[in-house]
Symmetry: D2
Subunit: 377 residues, 4 copies
Amino acid sequence: MRDIGIGLIGSGYIGKTHAIAYAAHNAVFGGPARPVCRALAEIDQQKADQEATSLGFKRGTGNWRDLLDADDIDVIAIATPNALHKEMAIAAIQAGKHVYIEKPLALDATEAEAIINAYEAQTTNTNPLVHMLGYNYLCNPMISVAKTMIDSGELGEIVHFRGRHNEDYMASPDVPFSWRCSRTAAGTGALGDMGSHIIGMAMHLAGPASSLSGDTTTVIQRRKDHTGTMRTVENDDQAQALVRFESGAMGILETSRIALGKKQGLAFEIVGTKGSIEFDQERMNELRLYEANAPIGRAGFKTLLVDSSCPDFGAFCPAPGHGLGYNDLKIIEVNRLMKAIVAGAPVPVDLYQARDIERIIDTWITSAEQRTWLNLD
Amino acid sequence: MRDIGIGLIGSGYIGKTHAIAYAAHNAVFGGPARPVCRALAEIDQQKADQEATSLGFKRGTGNWRDLLDADDIDVIAIATPNALHKEMAIAAIQAGKHVYIEKPLALDATEAEAIINAYEAQTTNTNPLVHMLGYNYLCNPMISVAKTMIDSGELGEIVHFRGRHNEDYMASPDVPFSWRCSRTAAGTGALGDMGSHIIGMAMHLAGPASSLSGDTTTVIQRRKDHTGTMRTVENDDQAQALVRFESGAMGILETSRIALGKKQGLAFEIVGTKGSIEFDQERMNELRLYEANAPIGRAGFKTLLVDSSCPDFGAFCPAPGHGLGYNDLKIIEVNRLMKAIVAGAPVPVDLYQARDIERIIDTWITSAEQRTWLNLD
Amino acid sequence: MRDIGIGLIGSGYIGKTHAIAYAAHNAVFGGPARPVCRALAEIDQQKADQEATSLGFKRGTGNWRDLLDADDIDVIAIATPNALHKEMAIAAIQAGKHVYIEKPLALDATEAEAIINAYEAQTTNTNPLVHMLGYNYLCNPMISVAKTMIDSGELGEIVHFRGRHNEDYMASPDVPFSWRCSRTAAGTGALGDMGSHIIGMAMHLAGPASSLSGDTTTVIQRRKDHTGTMRTVENDDQAQALVRFESGAMGILETSRIALGKKQGLAFEIVGTKGSIEFDQERMNELRLYEANAPIGRAGFKTLLVDSSCPDFGAFCPAPGHGLGYNDLKIIEVNRLMKAIVAGAPVPVDLYQARDIERIIDTWITSAEQRTWLNLD
Amino acid sequence: MRDIGIGLIGSGYIGKTHAIAYAAHNAVFGGPARPVCRALAEIDQQKADQEATSLGFKRGTGNWRDLLDADDIDVIAIATPNALHKEMAIAAIQAGKHVYIEKPLALDATEAEAIINAYEAQTTNTNPLVHMLGYNYLCNPMISVAKTMIDSGELGEIVHFRGRHNEDYMASPDVPFSWRCSRTAAGTGALGDMGSHIIGMAMHLAGPASSLSGDTTTVIQRRKDHTGTMRTVENDDQAQALVRFESGAMGILETSRIALGKKQGLAFEIVGTKGSIEFDQERMNELRLYEANAPIGRAGFKTLLVDSSCPDFGAFCPAPGHGLGYNDLKIIEVNRLMKAIVAGAPVPVDLYQARDIERIIDTWITSAEQRTWLNLD
């Protein structure tokens, strides 16, 4: 089996998720290729060495550019703060590496376009570069089931999509000012961090949006930074938008980082003309289904539990209801990457789709400023 | 105990709910006054007599104007299709009767103003007329608890209100064209029928709105009427709006009459800076509460079941969790009416608040046409 | 329509539920007879008069035996502490009245037999007496649906019944010693009060039991009475039993009055060879159904909401999901009584079935003492 | 970091779970030792080689006894059908290997004693052997939270434990006769397979049992084997027992392999004098808590979501509610094994506790035959 050398930049929260997924991938899927953890880049050599040992990488480096020239690195995985993505992604692409970039792709659509330009200049038919974004929630087998229900017509015509990704990690005014609160470091707030997830989910399931009317607010307007200095928060705590999809369906999208009680609150409800579905990532192994054609007195929302009829699940466990966890979604995503590299299979979200998500975010903010609906091109 | 003579116009779905509530009121509350079912008006004498017998009214009449002159009638209750409200309400007020009008108050805010004008011309300090709208969901003890949590500051500052009232009674394309589909008979569609409920709930809990951006669609654009003729549906199947409240809080309001699977789908989630609450009328005896100040590891949404600490509940049953039903909300509403008549107590929704709901609906539709935010005066 | 004169003994918790149900019955069901609240008996004339006024009875009496001779009383409804049932029921029957007795029928099966003996001595083919017990949970439309599913074979052969009725009204050691703690006044503890409900439910749905192995405990063994004297609790706080039904199905029955968090905790799960159902009275308008024959990937527990396809529901409201409350079950039960009186229709639980419930309770206690299985005759 | 050589026997369902856990362990926990997948034993060399490659083991062998002499093997992990455990475990122990044995330990308590005897003959203070059973559900962080709540007194005195482990993998009569249906190959049926889990959970949380009254049934008494021959099922489809714990608490235990709709139906409810908790493995990242001391009107079951305050969780993900999956429990269990080997830490279930579980199962069956309560020694 072919080994795929991984160079990972960043060993924080999501970097560790990468490491776990690379390690577990082959015991779960048994192929079609083996990700091999070759190098981990961190902010300095000492931290890099320490994390490489802990997370199972062969070597560490304090300079991420070392990965560009390394012959044993096939994929550069970027798990760093948002503002660094553009430079790293372009450099990786220009070095001829496949890229696996954590969402959001960039600070805005302009940056996203620059990455795409670099990609288009570098990739060739004979030597195509794989480009995959880390939108791991899309890899959930229950989401695959939802997509099948929609694409097959089982739910009829989709007429409404209501989605939100709300959490409460910044609900306390005592949470300090961090890079997430800075427009230059993070771009948007809840909108880029979690809004990108629910936008991606909406596009995945309900298709492209044609217009929107957005709104945003910053509720906790000042926070102390780690030095104790009070600073102005520069981006949104809450954002919401009315959406029209190209299909004509209506939608509502919402995100918040101050929604007390929500911990992994990516949830949606989709209404079709033949059925409805409901999903909540906090119960990620369940999908609720209402079938309009049920017999009289026997119609109701049905809670489907994940089982081996759902894509990807059987690789983890043959037993129904023996659910997956958050980290397992990353294992599936890594499997998508392996299939893309060795077999040219499509990925859940590529640079173009990620760019479209950035465009929606940009338009959302402009719409909120102009207090009007805007079309998406 | 004082008897309050009731004259009810309309014996359909909601008219029957009135009849049950009047009958049960005194066994439940024991006062402060006794509603006495004196006369029932229906479309003709025969139906009126039949329904009067069935629903426990002393007499029937095929002419609702008979109620205006009847000395034994103190309250005229209007439970007829929307387009009839204005004429009936004005006539009742001008006859010096208290009015108890089912929602929505009227077809639009202009009609609502006309009713208010009639009221203001008629009522006097010495002989004040009571005017109450039938927004029975607001009478739920769990809603009273929610309001107490908000008004007392228990939830902190409210920063978000997400509400919907979705049902699926017109989801099937085989549901025939009826007065509900006609702009002249019903005014708006889902928006007036159920949207008025969620708007009323939002105002009750989160206070007045200052601006909104609305959207509406008619998904099933043609339906057969009872003669088999295909007719064009003239009002909305789905409607949604972004809202800003005067408090600065953001909100989302939504309604649908084609949301497959929802049967009594009035639900909301409110985020405050100290806690969050969630409610779903399909589980109307529950309120979910998240308290930000819970100890580490002991925070989570808590399901409160109705008990005698909740307003009004103890009159029904002393035992906690021995829940109320939909009809019980009407009994509480009738009790509010009795208290207003004998003691001048405030009602949940009066003509002015009902007019404000109509204004929001009107603005919602205009906003949808203009594709822009609009301020509410 | 025929008037049925009601004489009610007892105006406490359940007595008030009776009063509400009599008052509301005709507006809901419109027939086949009209219960008329003629007399209310209480412990003295003053309380009787006061409660008669409050609950809508024409007169009050401090002597329940006054009801026996009253020509305008057709039904004597007994809503008093358990130890009084036998004497009152026998006297009512001997006076030729129909009886409507709150559960449990008596302190034990011996008392129950005495009541049956009186009944058999009094009733005649030409003048049959109606005898109905107040097991109102059985009147829930969702329970009727469950019974239909079982009786029709929709669930296949029933192989397991797990039921409990747990509440927490005596969970606090500060709840005082009351008649409920006394063997002479209440008989058993949780077992008679709530265990009788879950036994009745099991018999209603899974049929007669053939043998059982029981257990009981008194957890809080001493409580202060209202004078502050510490007294020994004489009956069970918790009871549980393994059961075999005549069908061969296995079962588990359980009850507790100290189960913290349960407020109206009558719940069951039934497994058949073609499907399973689950019910919880705290969500009394729902029934969860699992159908074994669902397509692959589309099997799951489905939450049915009450609607007009469910027996009795349509009389309350035509709209699906507009749920019933606890008191509404009593209205349905009163309707059963009316139908039994005017049309000889069967009642949910009669004296014989109530006697069987008492036998199970007696056997349960003996089994617990002997630490062995016992057969039920 | 120390490498711990693993030799795994069996690559079926649970064997693969082992492989995934060994692979992922260090990226998750970073220590205190590294499990290294050295050898995989299967029924023949070909299958062994194939699975070794797929699951990431260095070599395969068709003879499990090869592991006994291998110097690079520290732990022998036994993931084979129940009837093979005794021989393999004794051989592994006698070869001086640590053992990690999947539940149930053996076919009955007599076999379990034989394994213990071998262990006691082999282990020494200077060279202690680690012995751990695979009861992975006990490793769930939410179960650790539950145990902390109980051990700390937060729930008060435990007065009731109701537990079940029900699934439906043999609900269909078309499921063929397999080794699981054979008394010689599997021992008991649902009782050994899943009953052992809920017994283990009960002992873990409520402490040792002192007596029980059990019952068992075989509902589907005949099944076709893979040759099409109809054979008699030799063990239980359903089993249930009343239990008394040494503490005096009451309990109910239940298991079924034909409980339609249950997929990973290990669930329990525990009542204490200060609070209650509820858990369902199908929602394994949640624990429901009722606190008796909540303020009036603010008491209710609270759904706790897993977060970094819960033992072990933080190693997987820092973000609350980003739940674990079934396979993650095995990673935690492997971490327990590593800590036991390098630091002598206690394991969740050792040979002695596993033997006690077998004793309870044996007693349960005897009690069912004798129709009486039996004491546990």
